[in-house]
């Protein structure tokens, strides 16, 4: 009797938990329909009042005040020193506070001035002249001058303090660029050779010399702990739109507006509009979804499986969904083209398999057998695009002549037959020496997306009569196989690339790169023979980095994509599409594929926020000429 009573109580509680839910209808074809048309404002321009070079936003004028709450997954930032960051979250969190000289145009992807007023590149492509803004200040009121820029580059970046990845990427033939102060507001960079990727490096943050210099003098060990997450928020002196207000470990990072920021709106009021920017640190994707639904978050990145449900909720909810297009990730299938021997004198790859993998017809046959469309539909819930190129689909260097194609088993069979493969009565595939075609395919266990791709690739290849042993293995073991022991046949992995700079992929594409997955050369094999197409790609990457004009570079990078497309050392599968949701109360939202949702965080405002005291305080240079 009591049991019944209690059961009723428990049921009541359960029922409260599973209350109404919006019915999911018509789940497919939500991905690419975007009814809202975004009208981008004109580009920001520099205007001068009272000797101060402001950056003026051309976006509609909004209300001041309010908070924007976003999230970051994981354990939060490890440091707030933008020169020490080794992970994405730390970089994002520290770069909010420090502006770079240049930034990337969110639509065209071209470099444009930010903290710099303007820049020019000499005709020989070696000299970069940067003009700084007059009258712009750090958050503590000290002026930002050429000394800060020269100090940042000479004493931090080029001196190899903190994270050296920028320094490593701009060493040309063992030589580093140099930086010179021309006057208080002019800086000149000189690269030893013309080196196009250098311009992107100028978006690196600039450090306040009067704060960083004492730390730099104490040496690199001290610098590694400088501005760590234990630093008091008051001790940060910054140039970005927002400044750290509070960091609560494993809970949140709170930023407040920087009153000295140099961007103004068309009225001449100082931006940003928002009082606060909050990043909640959430442990996993599920918690992020719960927090968004409980209205603790204002924006969320939606995973493929969630998009349909959110799309159905959208019409009667307080958020809007934006499709930001394919992301920079490239999921690929690679075969081991290695034909060398290890220390013990054994081949890394079984010689009979080497014959298959080195045969371009075999690689193409595999490529034609893969049903990318089916994978996008079933694995990414339709939220993705089939991928055929080495550069990601949103790259400004994408070779648009490389056309997608459908799965074609007949073509695969034809190619295999051309190379002497044959089928027995049960449809099993044999090579011309009579060996059964059977190999292992690896991916990292635990990544459900890659595991699902593996299962589908296995089925697709078995339609050709191949025997595929699909083995998801632990991530670390897989990495060890890929970069050290090299004993693998086929692998499904992914890389993230840059949509702006193909040279970032040189470690993958160049034949002596540290991540040249399909034909990894260990130290002892550095001089081993290259395939012809590898040699050509090496040449193209060297030329591409040294050319300065975008059009010239595009030609080289187009050709490398063409080679990968023809030779198929990497068989690309698909790129997931980035779908984000943001609350309707936020205005001036101009999402782009390259910049994401919040690239213009200074301009984003809330319609009618709570009355805010900041509005009265914002000093406005009067008498501006509005266009």
């Amino acid at each position: 009797m009591y049991v019944i009573l209690i059961l009723v109580l428990v049921l009541g509680l359960l029922k409260a938990c599973i209350r109404r839910d919006v019915p999911v209808k018509d789940s497919a074809k939500v991905s690419n329909t975007q009814s809202k048309e975004i009208i981008f404002p004109e580009d920001k321009k520099t205007v001068t009042f009272n000797g101060i070079d402001y950056l003026q936003s051309q976006a509609p004028i909004g209300d001041f005040g309010g908070t924007f709450t976003a999230s970051t997954i994981g354990e939060g930032p490890k440091t707030f020193n933008p020169f020490n960051t080794k992970d994405n979250i730390s970089s994002t969190m520290s770069e909010i506070m420090y502006d770079g000289l240049l930034t990337t145009h969110s639509v065209t992807g071209q470099p444009i001035p930010k903290l710099a007023k303007s820049f020019s590149i000499s005709d020989d492509g070696k000299e970069y002249t940067i003009n700084l803004r007059h009258g712009v200040k750090w958050s503590d009121g000290k002026p930002i001058t050429a000394d800060d820029v020269v100090f940042t580059w000479r004493d931090i970046i080029l001196a190899g303090l903190g994270n050296t990845s920028i320094r490593d990427s701009i060493i040309i033939d063992g030589k580093l660029p140099t930086v010179h102060k021309i006057d208080d507001y002019t800086v000149k960079f000189i690269t030893p050779e013309p080196f196009a990727p250098f311009i992107r490096m100028l978006s690196t943050p600039v450090a306040p010399k009067h704060i960083f210099e004492p730390a730099v003098k104490k040496g690199s060990q001290y610098f590694d702990t400088f501005l760590s997450t234990n630093t008091k928020p008051e001790d940060f002196v910054t140039s970005g739109a927002f400044k750290l207000k509070e960091y609560v470990p494993a809970q949140r990072v709170v930023y407040e507006r920087n009153p000295n920021y140099y961007m103004i709106n068309k009225n001449g009021d100082k931006l940003p509009y928002l009082d606060r920017l909050v990043y909640l640190i959430v442990g996993d994707l599920n918690n992020e979804v719960l927090k968004f639904e409980a209205k603790e978050l204002d924006t969320i990145n939606l995973q493929g499986s969630k998009v349909a449900r959110y799309k159905a909720m959208e019409p009667h909810s307080d958020f809007t969904i934006y499709n930001l297009g394919p992301n920079t990730g490239t999921l690929y299938l690679a075969m081991n083209l290695n034909d060398r021997k290890n220390d013990k004198g054994d081949f890394y790859v079984n010689p009979k398999k080497q014959v298959w993998f080195k045969d371009v017809n075999f690689r193409k046959a595999v490529d034609f057998a893969i049903d990318r469309k089916n994978m996008v539909l079933n694995i990414a819930n339709g939220i993705g695009e089939p991928l055929f190129t080495a550069e990601s689909l949103n790259s400004i260097f994408l070779n648009k002549n490389l056309k997608p194609y459908e799965r074609d088993l007949n073509k695969s069979r034809e190619l295999l037959r051309k190379s002497g493969f044959y089928w027995d009565k049960q449809g099993k595939l044999y090579d011309k020496s009579g060996n059964r075609v059977e190999f292992d395919m690896l991916t990292n266990a635990g990544n459900t997306e890659r595991e699902a791709i593996g299962v589908m690739v296995k089925q697709d290849l078995e339609d050709l009569g191949m025997k595929v042993n699909f083995k998801p293995i632990e991530f670390n073991s897989l990495v060890n196989k890929l970069v050290n022991t090299l004993d693998w046949d086929m692998v499904i992995m992914g890389f993230t690339g840059s949509p702006l700079e193909p040279n970032g992929g040189k470690n993958v594409m160049m034949s002596d790169g540290t991540l040249h997955v399909y034909n990894m050369r260990l130290e002892k094999d550095k001089n081993s023979p290259r395939y012809d197409f590898e040699k050509r790609i090496d040449e193209l990457f060297i030329k591409g980095a040294l050319a300065t004009k975008f059009e010239d570079r595009k030609k080289y990078y187009d050709e490398y994509q063409q080679i990968i497309y023809d030779e198929k050392p990497f068989i690309y599968i698909y790129s997931p599409t980035v779908i984000v949701a943001i609350r309707d109360k936020f205005k001036n939202i101009f999402p782009t594929t390259l910049g994401g949702l919040t690239h213009n965080i200074e301009e984003i405002y809330i319609d009618n926020p709570h009355p805010s005291s900041h509005k009265a305080q914002t000093p406005s240079p009067k008498g501006r000429g509005e266009g």
Partner: protein, 323 residues
């Protein structure tokens, strides 16, 4: 004096124990194929020089036994080393320990304050409707997996909007007055405490009830009753003192669980405690952090047992006589 000597002996015994624990943990972590640099290795923009620098910085280029020696030397000096991100392990732990302690102390306090009286009451009202309702309730409490229960409550919070979804403080916590801050924390603590409380209450209440029933059935209680002592004196002076002894040992284990007992619930509720920190450390094979937390767990367990034993000596004259 006797007790001091006993404590000293016990502390001496723990030294070899700690060495063995540390050796086993260190070697298991290092022999597992987890590579702390795997993520970096697969990042196309990371150069070989950076990888080599990182390998040296983390000491991965030396044999395991040398790595262990280095770790042990600094551990004895009281230096817990740095995490793989270069932060001090001790500051990392210090950030989280108060949060975890807050959660576990509240839970243990509530469990004991509620569980013990309920156990006694249930024993006194044996086989009455009150006892039976409690039995059913505690069965349910013991049967629900904590993970599932926590997720259920989280969904409840999202649907009703009555409680925040995880965390410990609201975003505007720093701007609140003292009383609002206390209220805010209590609001956030409610759900995780409910989960842990339900779970441990059931166990404690049942244990207390069983002990009490045992004692109430013993000869000396019957004798006390026959002697005409008041029921109050029989129960609270004679029976309770004996019934509570086994629970003191339990208290020792509770002490050990102070810092590590709530990891799962912490994870579900995104509670900024040690659980989440250590889980990530294990996944990334952040050796110094993992070792620090394992050693902390071992020391807490030993300490808890020691405290329980000392308390037993104080409360139970029989043990004193034997030793």
């Amino acid at each position: 004096m006797e007790i001091l000597k006993y404590i000293f002996k016990r502390i001496l015994q723990t030294i070899p124990l700690l060495i063995i624990v540390s050796l086993i943990s260190f070697f298991i972590i290092r022999l597992s194929p987890v590579d702390p640099l795997a993520e970096l290795r697969l990042n196309p923009s990371v150069s070989k020089e950076t990888l080599e620098k990182e390998t040296q910085r983390l000491g991965l280029d030396k044999p395991i036994i040398v790595q262990y020696g280095k770790w042990a030397k600094s551990f004895i000096k009281g230096d817990l080393g740095i995490t793989s991100n270069g932060e001090q392990v001790s500051t990392k732990l210090k950030e989280r320990i108060p949060n975890t302690l807050l959660l576990t102390v509240v839970v243990i306090f509530l469990t004991w304050v509620v569980g013990i009286p309920l156990g006694i009451l249930a024993a006194l009202k044996w086989k009455t409707p009150f006892d039976r309702i409690l039995t059913v309730l505690t069965s349910i409490g013991m049967a629900i997996p904590s993970f599932f229960f926590a997720v259920l409550l989280l969904i409840f919070a999202v649907r009703t909007g009555w409680f925040p979804v995880g965390g410990l403080t609201s975003a505007n916590f720093a701007d609140m007055g003292f009383f609002s801050q206390v209220k805010d924390i209590a609001h956030h603590l409610f759900l995780p405490v409910t989960v842990l409380f339900t779970l441990s209450l059931a166990g404690l209440q049942r244990q207390m009830r069983a002990n009490m029933l045992d004692v109430l059935d013993s000869d000396y209680v019957k004798f006390a009753r026959a002697k005409g002592l008041s029921e109050f004196k029989v129960v609270y002076k004679h029976a309770l003192r004996n019934a509570i002894n086994p629970l003191i040992t339990l208290l020792g284990f509770e002490f050990a669980g102070l810092l590590s007992g709530a990891a799962l619930t912490e994870y579900v509720f995104q509670y900024p405690g040690l659980g989440r920190l250590i889980l990530e450390a294990v996944l990334k094979s952040d050796i110094n952090l993992v070792m620090a937390s394992l050693m902390m767990g071992a020391i807490m367990l030993i300490l808890g047992n020691l405290i329980a034993d000392i308390l037993l000596i104080i409360t139970d004259p029989r043990i004193r006589v034997k030793s």
